[in-house]
Every structure is written in C-alpha cells, then in structure tokens.
Assembly symmetry: C2
Homo-oligomer: 144 residues x 2
Amino acid sequence: MSEIKDELNNCLYFTSNKLSRMIGKMADQEFKITGLSPTYAFLLSIVNKKEGIVQKEIGEILHMSSSTITRFIDKLENQALLKRVKKGKNSLIYLTEKGKQKQAEIDQAWENLHQRYEKVIGSKEAEIVENINKISNQIEKEVK
Amino acid sequence: MSEIKDELNNCLYFTSNKLSRMIGKMADQEFKITGLSPTYAFLLSIVNKKEGIVQKEIGEILHMSSSTITRFIDKLENQALLKRVKKGKNSLIYLTEKGKQKQAEIDQAWENLHQRYEKVIGSKEAEIVENINKISNQIEKEVK
DNA sequence: AATTTACATTTGTATGTACAACTAACTAAA
DNA sequence: TTTAGTTAGTTGTACATACAAATGTAAATT
C-alpha cells in the first residue's frame, strides 16, 4: 500500500501530471481576475507581443496542436478579444481594443502567480523551472 | 517574440504543463501494449496491491477528485478488469481474474517507460522526480 | 427513535486537449 | 499549365479531468 505510493512518487509521468494539476489550480485562482483561464491569457500575451502572428507559430510557442489553437482562437474571437484576418492559407491574428485592455490585468495575474509559487517553492525556483523546461524539450524530441 | 518565449519558459505553470503533456505522450506509447492508458493502469496496480480498497483512498493516492475516480472505475468495470462490491456507503474494489492477468503487462510497460525516460534525462532522474514531487505536494497544500 | 450532520459515491455538465480526416491554398515538377 | 505534393487551418470526435449538486448511507445529538 505504501509501496505503491512510493512507486508512483518515483514515476516522472505521475509526478509531473500531479504538479501540472496542482499548479493549474493555483493559476486558475490567480487568473480569475482576468476572467480567462491561464492558457488563454498567455495566448493573448503572445499576440500582444507580435500582432499579426499566424496560428501555426502560436502553436509552436505554446507547444500545442494546431487544432487546439483553432479552438482557443475561436473562443477568444467570440469574446471579441482578438480577430482573425484571413490571408491566403494563413490567418493573421490581431488583438481588438478590448483585448489590448485586458493586457494589464493579465500581466498582474501572471506576476501574482509567480510571487505566490515562489513563496512556496523558495529560492530554487529558477533552477527548478529551468530543469523542467530542459527535460520536457528533450522528451518532446524523443517522443514525436 | 523571443521575449515572450522566455517568459513562458520561466513560468512554472507553463513548463509543467508542457512536461506533463510530453511525458504523457511517451507514457501513452509505452502503455499501448496494455491496451490501457497509464492512469487506468496505475489504478489497477493500486487495487492489485490492496484488494478491497475504497474509492476515496484511490483518489487520495492518485491525487484525483472522487468524481474522476468514479468515472475511471466505471470504465474499468465495463472492461471487466475490476468490480465494485457495495458495502454501506462505500464501494470496495477488487480485481477480476482478467484484471489480475493484466498486471504483468502493466509492470512491463511501467518499466519500459522508466527506462526510456531515464535514457533521456540521465542520471539526475531520481533527484528531479523527487523535486517535482516535493513541489507539487507543497503547492497542493497551498491551493486547497 | 427522530433529527441533524457528516461522509462516500454518483451524476450532470463543462473545459482543455489531441488525433485523424478534411478543405483550401500554395509550391514544385512534368 | 496541369498535376502532384505540401502546408495551414478547420471540424468531428474522443478522452481526462474537475466542480457543484444530488443521492444514499452512517454517525451523532436530541
């Protein structure tokens, strides 16, 4: 019984799933002030940094499949936070005024989230995040 | 543009989501031989270690909500891999013969998964997993 | 014993995400 | 310039997961 717990806790698949769900909850809480879930907010930030970006590139930045990006953009377009401009086979994405105005809230939420988890995990934060990032990139290569 | 990538890569929420999706893919591949997805397989292993376990405890071990566990068990029961025995307000969970026979495959898949990602992330493996585990436990406390 | 409170499980519903199949548009080769 | 191949985006469908409300059962209080 406690063996199986140990086995799970030694499993990268299991622990990183767990971490993802937990930090996800924290992020949901902090991004509540924006009325968006964190990933949607990040997508908006990406467009904010590069108006006219194409969907494919958004997918690459977020490491998400293009169908997922289509769906996210559908929703954000419905909420009038961004708009598509079709150009040949591409869709160029731009923020609306309303989308631009969200940005301040998003930045705030993002900062709050960082501060909150930094308080929990302490000073090793940067190192840990970097490690996680490195591993996931390696696995990404291995897996596709 | 590259700034936003950096910002994302420094964000624990984002990186751990990414890691979770990537290792998830790897795990799906390795658990294909069992005909189950990894979490279902883990659930079966838990029951295997403790026949008659109640659902609540399974949820605690897997750190998942009880409704999720209900749904998982529904499916595994449909596949005749385990069965519920109602006892008062509890459901006691037991493996069927078929469920017991799966166990060897599951252990194999699990081992294959470990070996595969160990090859990728190298010798720091244990340390990294432990770190992730610690962090997610801390965050879990903070967040509920 | 009757009533309230607490707890375990289930159900309804919603969200994030992926894959495979499809369409539309561009590119290269014949 | 027609044909074949490639790429970007969309749609259908499916799965994991959560939360809140509902149900059923047990325990505690009156």
